[in-house]
C-alpha cells in the first residue's frame, strides 16, 4: 500500500488508542511518553547541513529497522508528503506541527496501530513517542524504555555523565523525557474551576498545555498535563509526579460532574441534548464549533444523560472533524465553506442525524 493510500485509509477512522478504552476513560483520553535523543557526532538541528540531515534520516531509519523497535513500520519521508497528508498526521498526533512544517530532510516512522511514532529531525534528531489509551503509566514507561534501548543498541546518542541526554533545547536535556496525559475536563471548564486546577498542577512541577502541545489552544476542553523538569529527576521520579497529580485532577472533574447532576440535572440534560440536536441538524459547521458540541456530548454520554450515544463514535469524531481529515476523506483540498458542509454531513452520518 502506498503512503498516500494508507493516509487516505486513516482519514476515515481513529487509531485504536482513541476509541475510549483504557483506565479512567471518562476523563483520561491517553498517556504519552516522548523521549528526545540526538545522534553523537552531529550538530543539533539548528546547525545541521542538509547533507548531514539526510544522513541522519538514513542512519536512524536503518537503525530503527534493524532494531525491530517498530514492528511492520510505516516510513514516511515528509519532504515527499503533500501538505494535506502532513496535516492529517499532525491531527493524529503522529507528528508535531514543527516536523510537518520543517524544511530540512525529515521523516516519521510509525506503527500501524499508531501507538509508536519516531520523528526524525524534529527539534532533535530523534523523538520517540509512545501512546496508550487511558492512564497506563507503567506499561507506557516500560514500552518507551524498551524502544529506546533497542535503538540505542544500534546507534550512539549524545550523552554526558553530568547532563544526561543532550538536547538542542536545554529544557529537555537530562532524561529527555516528557510524560503527558491528555485529559477531557469540560465540567471544570464549565464551572470555571479549571484555573484552580492549573495553579495546583504548576505547584507540582507539572505544566498544562492545549490539545496539540506547546502554545496550542485547549480545543474541545482537552488539556495535556506533563512534567516540566527533565534534569535532576529520574524517569521514575517524573512518573511518580504525574501519577500523583493526575488522579487528583480526574477526581476534581468527576466531583464537578456529580455536583452538576445532583444540583442542575435539567440544565445539563438540556445542554447535552441541544448539542446533540445541533450536530444532528447542522448543514454547515466549523471544526471548532463541532469540537465544542462534541465535548458536551462526550461528557453527557459519560454522565448517563445521553443513553444512546456511542462514546467510541464521539471520540472518533473529535479526530475526523478536523480540517486535514475532512479534506483527506474527500481526497482533495476544499475551500472553507465546502469543508464545513462536508463536515456537517460526516457528523450527521455518524450521529444519526
Amino acid at each position: 500500500m502506498t503512503i498516500s493510500k494508507l493516509i487516505r485509509d486513516l482519514s476515515s477512522r481513529a487509531g485504536d488508542w482513541l476509541k475510549g478504552s483504557g483506565t479512567d476513560a471518562d476523563v483520561v483520553i491517553s498517556s504519552r511518553i516522548r523521549l528526545a535523543r540526538n545522534l553523537e557526532g552531529y550538530p543539533f538541528l539548528p546547525r545541521l547541513e542538509e547533507e548531514q540531515a539526510l544522513e541522519i534520516v538514513r542512519r536512524l531509519t536503518a537503525a530503527v529497522e534493524r532494531s525491530g523497535a517498530v514492528p511492520d513500520p510505516i516510513i514516511c519521508d515528509l519532504r515527499d508528503t503533500p501538505s494535506l497528508d502532513r496535516l492529517l498526521l499532525v491531527e493524529r498526533h503522529l507528528i508535531s506541527r514543527e516536523l510537518a512544517n520543517g524544511e530540512e530532510p525529515r521523516s516519521v516512522i510509525f506503527s500501524r496501530d499508531e501507538v509508536l511514532s519516531l520523528m526524525i529531525n524534529e527539534e532533535d534528531h530523534l523523538r520517540i513517542q509512545v501512546l496508550r489509551a487511558g492512564l497506563e503509566l507503567d506499561e507506557l514507561m516500560s514500552k518507551a524504555r524498551s524502544i529506546d534501548d533497542r535503538i540505542e543498541h544500534e546507534v550512539r546518542f549524545s550523552y554526558s555523565n553530568r547532563l544526561g541526554y543532550l538536547t538542542s533545547c536545554p529544557t529537555n536535556t537530562g532524561t529527555g523525557m516528557r510524560l503527558s496525559v491528555m485529559l477531557h475536563l469540560p465540567a471544570l471548564v464549565f464551572s470555571k474551576e479549571i484555573e484552580r486546577v492549573f495553579q495546583a498542577v504548576s505547584s507540582m512541577n507539572l505544566t498544562v498545555r492545549g490539545l496539540y502541545g506547546e502554545g496550542t489552544q485547549a480545543t474541545g476542553d482537552f488539556y495535556q498535563v506533563s512534567n516540566q523538569v527533565t534534569l535532576g529527576k529520574s524517569e521514575e521520579d517524573i512518573l511518580d509526579d504525574v501519577r500523583r497529580a493526575v488522579p487528583r485532577i480526574v477526581k476534581a472533574e468527576r466531583d464537578v460532574r456529580d455536583a452538576l447532576l445532583a444540583e442542575s440535572r435539567t440544565m445539563i440534560e438540556d445542554k447535552a441534548w441541544r448539542a446533540l440536536g445541533t450536530l444532528r441538524s447542522a448543514r454547515t459547521i466549523g471544526s471548532e464549533e463541532s469540537m465544542e458540541f462534541l465535548s458536551i456530548i462526550r461528557m453527557g454520554a459519560y454522565m448517563g444523560v445521553l443513553p444512546n450515544v456511542e462514546i467510541s463514535s464521539v471520540n472518533e469524531l473529535f479526530l475526523l472533524v478536523q480540517p486535514g481529515h475532512v479534506q483527506n476523506l474527500q481526497g482533495r483540498t476544499l475551500k472553507a465553506a465546502e469543508r464545513d458542509r462536508v463536515r456537517s454531513e460526516l457528523i450527521r452520518s455518524r450521529l444519526g442525524g
Partner: protein, 178 residues
C-alpha cells in the same frame, strides 16, 4: 572612535591579539594596524579557528566565545533558545548551569544511563562536521568580500577533503552502511 595607538585617525580596524590563549582587542586606524603587522591578521584568525574556542568581536564590542564545532555563540543561543551541538553544553557551562538550575531546579542528571550502546563514532564524522563548519564560514567571508580569508579557508577545506578521502574512501555512507 579614535585609533588607540596614534589617537589621531579614526579606528577602522579591530585587531585581535592572542597571547598565552588570552585575546586582547585593539581598535586601530589602517596605518597603525599596518605598522603592527595588519596583513598578519589573516593568519592570526586562521590559527584561532583551529583552536577550540574562537574569540570574535560581538556586536556589543565585548569578546564572545563561539563554539568551534558549530559556530554557536551564547548570544545567538539566547536569541533562539537552541544550542548548536553537544559541545555547546561544555563550552557554555558557566552560563548554562544557572539557567539549567532555574529551569529544572538542578544541573545534574540522575536518570537513565545508557547500558549498552553502539561503539563511538569514527574520527571521520568529526572531520566532516568540521568541514561543514568551514564551508559555512567560507560562504560568510565571501559575502563580506574578505577574499584573502576566503582563499585561506578554501585551502583548508581542500586539505580536509583530501584527508577525508583517505580516512573514508566510500564517504557518504555511515558506519552501518545506511
Amino acid at each position: 572612535m579614535l585609533c588607540e595607538s596614534c589617537k589621531k585617525n579614526n579606528a577602522t580596524v579591530s585587531l585581535t591579539e592572542i597571547k598565552d590563549s588570552k585575546a586582547t582587542v585593539y581598535q586601530l586606524c589602517e596605518n597603525c594596524a599596518r605598522s603592527q603587522g595588519y596583513p598578519a591578521k589573516q593568519t592570526l584568525l586562521g590559527d584561532l579557528i583551529s583552536g577550540f574556542v574562537t574569540k570574535t568581536r560581538s556586536s556589543e564590542g565585548g569578546s564572545e566565545k563561539a563554539c568551534e564545532i558549530c559556530g554557536m555563540t551564547y548570544q545567538s543561543f539566547r536569541a533562539k533558545g537552541r544550542l548548536g551541538c553537544p559541545q555547546c553544553y561544555d563550552l557554555f557551562e558557566e552560563e548554562l548551569t544557572p539557567l539549567l538550575e532555574k529551569i529544572h531546579g538542578s544541573a545534574r542528571h540522575i536518570g537513565k544511563v545508557p547500558r549498552e550502546s553502539a561503539p563511538a563514532e569514527s574520527e571521520t564524522l568529526r572531520l566532516r562536521n568540521r568541514l561543514a563548519q568551514l564551508k559555512r564560514e567560507l560562504k560568510s567571508v565571501v559575502e563580506s568580500e574578505d577574499y584573502e580569508r576566503a582563499v585561506e579557508i578554501r585551502d583548508r577545506i581542500q586539505t580536509m577533503e583530501k584527508e577525508l578521502a583517505r580516512e573514508d574512501p566510500c564517504s557518504g555512507s555511515g558506519p552501518e552502511g545506511a
